[in-house]
């Protein structure tokens, strides 16, 4: 875990968001009244990425326990400063085991070791211009597989931050991931052993990560 000394790691809890992009919300909307959900979400749908998931720049993601593919939630992390203000931005490779149910997620779907790929540095917002419509691109090897933009969020970042901080004020160093868009069919881009991911955006440090199979005898 200390191979990448000097590379950025979150200093506080990392919170993730789900169903934040219009496309995914609209795909889910016809099913939101069905069991087991029974109603559309009222509060922000959130989860936590624990410190064991942090994969500092330069480290590969190793698939273990028989996993053969992982889904990528390519997102933007808002690194919080004082008084609930955004201090810096970081592109993040938020990995998950693909799952169809949003009812009661297993920790093992999101919080396996190395399941959050980090950039070498977070970028202070003071170094950026207007980032309210920032877009980022996801590459699998040399193929562009997804382009997402903050303009496609169901609600602007400022509204989302305000809704969340009304019950859970974010502390300096904590990170709120704005959520990730899905592909047109509702899934997330899949990656397997031997693949390489790159997430890039203008003005921000890219995330690059290789996917490796399990070590011998560890599958």
């Amino acid at each position: 875990m200390n191979q990448a000394l000097g590379h950025w790691q979150p200093a506080g809890t990392v919170y993730g968001g789900l169903l934040t992009f219009s496309r995914e919300w609209d795909l889910w909307a016809p099913r939101m009244q069905d069991k087991p959900y029974l109603a559309p979400p009222r509060a922000p749908v959130l989860y936590i990425k624990s410190a064991n998931t942090f994969s500092p720049a330069g480290q590969s993601l190793r698939l273990e326990d028989g996993l053969t593919e992982v889904a990528l939630c390519a997102t933007l992390g808002l690194v919080m400063g004082e008084e609930g203000q955004v201090q810096a931005l970081a592109l993040l490779a938020d990995w998950m085991v693909p799952h169809a149910s949003y009812f009661r997620p297993a920790v093992r779907w999101r919080c396996r070791d190395g399941f959050l790929g980090l950039p070498a540095q977070a970028t202070p917002v003071a170094h950026l211009g207007d980032w309210s419509a920032l877009s980022w691109q996801v590459w699998r090897n040399d193929e562009l597989v997804q382009t997402s933009s903050l303009a496609q969020l169901r609600e602007p970042v400022s509204k989302r931050l305000a809704d969340l901080q009304a019950f859970m004020p974010l502390q300096p160093g904590e990170v709120l991931m704005v959520g990730s868009d899905c592909l047109p069919d509702g899934t997330r881009p899949l990656f397997g052993p031997g693949d390489r991911v790159r997430i890039s955006a203008p003005g921000l440090v890219s995330v690059e990560q290789g996917i490796e199979p399990a070590k011998e005898g560890m599958a």
């Binding site: 790691q9 979150p10 200093a11 506080g12 809890t13 990392v14 919170y15 789900l18 169903l19 087991p36 959900y37 029974l38 109603a39 979400p41 009222r42 509060a43 922000p44 749908v45 959130l46 989860y47 936590i48 624990s50 410190a51 064991n52 998931t53 942090f54 273990e64 326990d65 008084e83 949003y102 009812f103 009661r104 997620p105 297993a106 920790v107 093992r108 919080c111 396996r112 070791d113 019950f167 859970m168 004020p169 502390q171 904590e174």
Partner: protein, 265 residues
């Protein structure tokens, strides 16, 4: 030994239990013995340079699982909490005013002492540093069926009291044989035994460490038995685990809003 972290006379100290209350062991007033009400109690956890992983269990007591929903789960129903949810012994926790059902949950908290990955059940207790008591309050009005239990129910700031003591694992030979109970304003409302956990402490460590590395200072809140009831502002809730400690918390109304800047004279 029973360890605490407290603020006393302007500084944070480590302390240990003493017949007169606490003996301060590290900090500017180390060596002094002070009473339990002379200090501000902090969560009894060593500070970490990284975000602390806090795992919590839902439906981990047989009786409660049967009253709440369905058959016993086949794997632990776990979720995570942020460190800002933690607060120490004798503190006040805000009860949002419009809420109809906010209940305590008395839980045995396991504190990890060594990096743990793929630790088999038989060896699991050897990675435990110690135990403490947690009160994992839930605001049930906010329960929704999206990524349950959603954080608005379980992750309000300061709504997870923990403490008073971190008790060395060596002093707790069997974490599966501890009586626990809760009182509200002195009336007993919840009773149980950690013997009734569906997944006991060794099983939980084996389960989590199978897919994630548990690190020193990480915490597992092991779930609560039946007997949780709504509490209101002003109620004093004491969650007790035999041999570990009695954790007191008072529910309060939110403070009146204050302007963020002082008015100019």
């Amino acid at each position: 030994m029973k360890h605490a972290r407290v603020a006393y006379e302007g500084a944070i100290h480590d302390a240990v239990a003493h017949p007169d209350g606490l003996r301060l062991t590290h900090g500017p007033h180390a060596g002094r013995c002070v009473s339990e009400d002379a200090v501000v109690w902090l969560p009894p956890l060593r500070p970490l340079a990284r975000p602390r992983t806090i795992l919590a269990l839902g439906l981990n007591y047989a009786e409660r699982a049967s009253t709440l929903e369905f058959k016993a789960p086949e794997e632990p129903l776990a979720f995570m909490k942020g460190e800002s949810s933690l607060i120490g012994h004798r503190a006040h926790t805000v009860r949002p005013p419009a809420v109809k059902n906010m209940h305590y949950e008395c839980e045995l908290a396991v504190i990890i002492g060594q990096p743990a990955r793929r630790v088999p059940r038989a060896r699991a207790l050897s990675v435990v540093d110690g135990y403490t008591v947690a009160n994992d309050y839930a605001i049930r009005d906010d329960l929704e069926n999206w990524y349950r239990p959603n954080l608005k129910v379980k992750n309000r700031p300061g709504a997870t009291p923990i403490g008073p003591w971190r008790v060395d694992a060596a002093d707790v030979p069997d974490p599966s044989a501890l009586r626990l109970h809760t009182t509200v304003n002195g009336q007993r409302t919840q009773s149980g035994s950690t013997a009734d956990m569906i997944f006991d402490v060794p099983s939980l460590i084996e389960y989590f460490s199978h897919f994630m590395t548990l690190l020193p200072g990480d915490v597992i809140l092991t779930g609560t038995p039946d007997g949780v009831i709504n509490c209101v502002a002003g109620d004093v809730i004491v969650t007790t685990i035999e041999g570990i400690g009695a954790l007191q918390n008072t529910l309060v109304a939110p403070p009146a809003p204050t302007p963020s800047t002082s008015p100019t004279p």
